[in-house]
């Protein structure tokens, strides 16, 4: 997104944006015009700090990014602690290949925690912190055998990964004002989808009727995780019906699988709240 576009958009809701940013409209415009020459990597940070000074921490565009990243960080802590505990649970994971795959995923979730903490700190905000004791992966007893029954463990893993994909997707729009952060979030989002694909293949190998992609709103788990899959069954995108589109034979299942759907922050919060002690 172009810097001038961002400022123009802000100006629509806040005509004083130039004054807030600099006190001198002309100087700000000069900065905007010169932005094509500023090192691209430096631009978002420079712009971010200008906005922060203009609106103060915790409000406005920068506050939205801070809040969004802390929301993402919360989900990453949830996932990281889940895999840490699962891998440490003696007798839970039956094969070396499964241990290796789950270790790969655990290491990514840990890396996401570190990465997001660094980004949030760089922005001048405070990252949230969670410890193992903050979580209840039985979700109040719903998944009572999560760390002793491998199939339950994989079911919860699939739900976390698919929900994570939907959560990042739902937040992308909030990060559009910062290209670097948006790109980083997208780069995490697709890794979560790779994880989801693999966990689903692990479940398929255990005899569960799931594919690497989400068919309709089927989880292969049951109604207990319905909220994580609600809405995935849609077969229309931007008003275009995907079933048999263009005269090609595309089933409703394929049409739903071809597009993953976002969840709002409120939806995700409701889904994960039972997993916090």
């Amino acid at each position: 997104m172009n810097l001038q576009n961002i400022i123009t958009e802000i100006e629509k809701v806040d005509p004083e944006v130039y004054e807030r940013l600099n006190g001198r409209r002309d100087a700000m415009k000069s900065f905007a015009k010169a932005s094509g020459k500023v090192a691209l990597a430096a631009l978002p940070l420079a712009f971010g700090s200008m906005l922060q000074k203009a609106y103060g921490k915790g409000t406005g565009v920068t506050g939205l990014i801070d809040d969004t990243l802390n929301f993402a960080l919360t989900l990453e802590y949830l996932e990281a602690n889940f895999y840490i505990k699962g891998i440490a649970s003696a007798g839970l994971i039956p094969t070396p290949a499964a241990v290796a795959a789950l270790t790969t995923i655990r290491d990514h979730e840990n890396a996401h925690v570190s990465f997001l903490r660094n980004v949030i700190t760089t922005l001048g905000a405070t990252p949230v912190t969670f410890a193992a004791a903050d979580f209840d992966f039985t979700a109040g007893g719903t998944f009572a055998d999560v760390f002793s029954n491998y199939d339950t463990f994989l079911a919860v893993a699939q739900t976390f990964e698919d929900t994570g994909v939907r959560a990042y997707k739902g937040q992308a729009g909030n990060l559009m004002t910062n290209n670097d952060i948006l790109t980083a979030a997208l780069n995490i989002h697709s890794v979560e989808a790779r994880h989801a694909s693999h966990i689903r293949q692990m479940r398929k190998a255990r005899g569960v009727d799931v594919k690497p992609w989400i068919t309709g709103n089927n989880s292969g788990i049951g109604s207990v995780v319905a909220a994580s899959y609600a809405g995935e069954e849609v077969t229309t995108q931007a008003g275009v019906n995907i079933v048999n589109i263009g005269g090609f034979t595309i089933s409703a299942n394929a049409a739903s699988e071809a597009f993953d759907e976002p969840l709002t922050k409120d939806q995700v919060t409701a889904i994960v709240t039972p997993f916090f002690a």
Partner: protein, 234 residues
């Protein structure tokens, strides 16, 4: 679109004297001032304004990015259509079923972009699969892996170039499905490679590529010349 029209109007002198006469001096200068600001913005958007480029023009702005995605989906859909038409030797029932799913997903993506772009859509591209041995599992899956990983990096890199939040959301709906494909293809080549360090960096992030980087890689498989010089670059 609007930018280009304003630019052409000024450069071609399409604003006639009679049009200008009705405008007060102050407004006329304001008009020019506004127009030059637009020109500067347009110039800042188009760093790589190369008039010698030929081929199918993807266009500019969000339309250009959607056409870029449409071009990649055309490539993927054509590939998997051929994979299903001429299955590699030794294909299992499970592989056949899931590769058919992937074909259908890519056709759905391609046809969605075609419908969404309507009159702005680029024409059908001619592909070149002479480097692929469709009877060989190794050749087909290696190509599938390359295409899926490329698709993920392409959408991830294009996100920041999109202005409309609605289009960004649509790209997001597709890229995670491409990542699911990528992980599956990687796993049937080598189980456990779904997100190994050739795809994911030490921070746990997938990679992203610019349209220029992506098209340079895809070029091997696309016969039709593509002009991406009008795409946004930031």
């Amino acid at each position: 679109m609007l930018l280009r029209q304003s630019k052409e109007k000024i450069l071609l002198g399409a604003a006639t004297e009679s049009e200008i006469k009705g405008v007060s001096r102050r407004n006329f200068l304001g008009y020019l001032g506004g127009a030059s600001a637009l020109l500067i913005t347009a110039a800042a958007c188009k760093k790589d304004d190369n008039n010698t480029n030929t081929g199918v023009d993807l266009g500019s702005g969000d339309v250009g990015i959607l056409n870029y995605a449409y071009a990649l989906e055309q490539l993927e859909a054509a590939f998997y259509t051929q994979v299903i038409l001429t299955p590699y030797s030794g294909i299992s029932a499970a592989e056949s079923a899931l590769l058919t799913d992937i074909r259908d997903h890519e056709i759905a993506h391609r046809e969605f972009f075609k419908a969404a772009l309507a009159a702005s859509a680029i024409p059908a591209l001619e592909v070149d699969f002479t480097s692929i041995n469709f009877s060989s599992r190794d050749s087909v899956l290696a190509t599938a892996k390359a295409f899926e990983d490329l698709g993920v990096t392409a959408y991830n890199g294009a996100g920041k170039l999109i202005v409309s939040a609605d289009y960004l959301a649509l790209a997001g709906k597709i890229v995670s499905v491409e990542a699911r494909h990528a992980a599956y293809i990687r796993d049937i080549i080598s189980n456990g490679s779904f997100a190994d360090n050739t795809a994911v960096d030490p921070n746990g992030l997938d990679l992203s590529r610019t349209p220029a980087q992506v098209l340079a890689i895809a070029d091997t498989y696309i016969k039709t010349a593509i002009n991406a010089s009008n795409l946004p670059t930031n």
